[in-house]
């Protein structure tokens, strides 16, 4: 049985007099200890996916349909009181900005002890011992002293380590990390990613890594979902998606990176913008920006099909593949 299984999840936002669909029939599975990347640009719905998994959506967003099975139990139907027992305990979340995730008026120790004591029956001294062990696990120097410090006394990288330590406090089975390093510098980002990877591997923790950075996904995850306008448009093994993307959007995203073009030459750009959720085109959401578009793409929603090791939602994937293979020898 997979650790997490999402089935036909649809999330909507209630606007003044209508609703907009933010997530449209998302389905995916996560095995125990597996690392999954969710890639997409802003507005693709990747953060909303993360929040839905934690059942943390707040008004005006709501889960309209679908199931989120965590160890076989449906989170969507779970009462809040039971959900609180799972959240932070079996499942933990790491947010983007380490500067605002920690409560500035509580010491690191207070925050860690509080989290522990909310879920376990422990004495304060025992809780502190666990906190120190966890801080040591994330390579924080002199953890005993850190417990008495306030978040503002620590640098961004240090804070993100502490946030990871807090996420690991209760030995969760799943960590959802929403852009965990976007607010950090490159050299610090590399450190944090390495740490996260190491911890997930050694503790057999499942990881859902939400990011816009294909490089990070490529180094961190085993499988990847590519999202566009609230839909999963491509899913498969990370290696295959990076090396041989099938969906025109994924191809465009990878080809748009400056590394893929000779210095000084024109980058291969995707024209246009991600549609706003209030104006998602009928048919394939990517059709207005797609260079391989055909008439039926604009009217019919593409089904997800298995194609060349990956699952892809594109009408024209086989034609695309032929054209590309024809081009290559030339």
């Amino acid at each position: 049985m997979s650790l997490l299984s999402v089935r036909d999840l649809t999330v909507k936002f209630a606007m003044r007099d209508h609703t907009v669909t933010a997530l449209d029939n998302i389905s995916f599975d996560l095995a125990k200890g597996e690392r999954l990347g969710i890639v997409g640009e802003s507005g693709a719905g990747k953060s909303i996916t993360g929040f839905s998994l934690m059942n943390l959506l707040s008004r005006p967003g709501f889960i309209d349909a679908g199931k989120i099975l965590f160890r076989g139990e449906d989170i969507v139907k779970m009462p809040q009181s039971r959900m609180r027992g799972i959240r932070g305990n079996r499942m933990a979340m790491i947010f983007q900005d380490p500067m605002v995730t920690l409560n500035p008026v509580l010491t690191i120790g207070q925050q860690m002890v509080e989290t522990l004591m909310a879920h376990r029956t422990l004495s304060k001294a025992e809780a502190e011992q666990i906190a120190i062990v966890k801080l040591r696990e994330v390579y924080i120097p002199s953890p005993e002293e850190r417990l008495a410090q306030y978040p503002h006394e620590l640098s961004g990288g240090m804070r993100q380590r502490i946030i990871i330590a807090i996420a690991l406090l209760l030995d969760p089975e799943l960590i959802i990390a929403d852009e965990p390093t976007t607010a950090l510098d490159v050299t610090i980002q590399a450190d944090i990613m390495e740490l996260l990877l190491e911890l997930c591997q050694s503790n057999k923790v499942g990881l859902i890594l939400i990011t816009h950075d294909l490089g990070v996904v490529s180094q961190m995850t085993e499988r990847t979902l590519v999202m566009y306008a609230g839909k999963i448009i491509e899913a498969g093994r990370t290696r295959e998606i990076i090396n041989d993307p099938q969906h025109p959007y994924t191809q465009g995203l990878i080809n748009a990176l400056p590394q893929q073009t000779k210095p000084g030459m024109r980058l291969k750009q995707i024209p246009g913008n991600m549609p706003s959720l209030t104006a998602i085109p009928p048919g394939c959401p990517f059709s207005p920006r797609c260079e391989y578009v055909r008439d039926h793409c604009r009217t019919t929603r593409p089904e997800t099909v298995q194609y060349a090791h990956v699952e892809v939602a594109c009408h024209e994937v086989s034609r695309l593949h032929q054209e590309n293979t024809e081009e290559q020898p030339a």
């Binding site: 590399a190 450190d191 180094q219 995203l253 590394q259 210095p263």
Partner: protein, 343 residues
């Protein structure tokens, strides 16, 4: 107009320093230390003795991590800040001590593009007003029709439909706003553009659009760029030369190709190795000890010494000077100088 010395560099920064005082006002400087009242003024040393030259037609990229002073350099050149020491020359003229009025003619030549397209446009002005304002201000003689033509021309050149001119910034996406911000800078026909992280707030597919636009403008208008960024892949693509900044000092300055093929400064090496690579799944980066120290109390010696694997006593005591290498790059590092870095 003065004759412009064409053979010299377009922009020349000489030993520029900038510090920001943390304790403003007399009362804040008074402190209680070890039983005595003392006067102490703490300041952030954002830029320390930076010397850079930008030649016509090139794109100099300034890279570094947050807090390294790269944005301060941009703002010093743009005249938004005054340096505490050093000189800034533009086309042979010293500009850092000019008054605002004296700078007005220069404003037509030098423009700036900002990081956050959500904040760099005035949300209460529609696009037409935002673009007309600089044209009218710098060309008082223009007729209404001339102004309108100029605005339409610039909008077309950045790929924004002139029929959208009555819209307000909030009606546009981030990428479109950045195009409009670029258009606004181009309305005065500048020759030099300072771009402070112009694409880091944008999505990947939009970044490519904006970078392409900037490259096009470079070719068509013969622009010279000073491009501030933290993204090394963008540097490799866009820059002709790169300056790597660490704690307000230039640690390496080289041609882009040279720097990426053969980085010399230990910090540059660590920085390059930290970029997540798409197709290589073996993260093999050089781990740096600790994090960037605060620029409040600068170390006496090399600013990078506290995190450097090659640091010795000399590095901790004496600040390295930039030394020209055989391949033309300038590196400020004792270890490189002494050939101590054996891989």
């Amino acid at each position: 107009m003065k004759d412009i010395v064409d053979d010299g560099p377009l922009l020349d920064l000489r030993q520029v320093k900038k510090r920001f005082d943390l304790d403003q006002g007399f009362l804040e400087t008074i402190k209680w230390r070890k039983g005595r009242v003392i006067r102490e003024r703490r300041s952030v040393h954002a830029v320390n003795n930076v010397s850079l030259k930008v030649d016509r037609g090139e794109a100099l990229c300034v890279v570094g991590e947050s807090g390294c002073g790269k944005s301060t350099v941009a703002r010093l050149i743009a005249g938004l800040l005054k340096p505490n020491a050093g000189e800034i020359h533009y086309a042979g003229e010293r500009i850092d001590d000019m008054s605002r009025r004296a700078l007005i003619p220069l404003r037509k030549k030098m423009q700036m593009i900002f990081q956050n397209p959500y904040a760099s446009l005035n949300s209460r002005m529609n696009i037409q007003q935002a673009l007309e304002e600089p044209v009218r201000y710098h060309n008082p003689g223009y007729s209404r029709a001339e102004i309108r033509d100029k605005v339409a021309e610039v909008m077309t050149s950045v790929g924004v439909d002139p029929s959208w001119s009555a819209r307000y910034p909030h009606e546009f996406s981030g990428g479109q706003r950045q195009r409009i911000a670029i258009a606004r800078a181009l309305t005065v026909d500048p020759e030099f553009i300072i771009a402070d992280e112009p694409i880091s707030a944008l999505d990947v597919s939009i970044q490519a659009q904006v970078l392409n636009l900037m490259l096009e403008a470079k070719d068509q208008r013969g622009l010279t760029y000073l491009f501030i960024t933290h993204d090394l892949s963008v540097v490799q693509h866009f820059g002709t030369r790169v300056a790597v900044l660490y704690l307000g000092s230039v640690c390496e300055l080289a041609d882009t190709a040279t720097l990426f093929e053969n980085p010399k400064h230990p910090y540059t090496r660590a920085l390059l190795s930290a970029v997540p690579q798409l197709k290589d799944d073996k993260p093999n980066h050089i781990r740096l000890k600790g994090e960037i120290p605060t620029p409040i109390n600068l170390p006496q010696g090399c600013p990078f010494a506290s995190r450097c694997a090659y640091a010795n006593d000399r590095c901790r005591m004496e600040q390295p000077r930039p030394v020209q290498q055989p391949d033309g790059s300038m590196v400020a590092c004792h270890a490189v100088e002494e050939n101590r870095m054996v891989d």
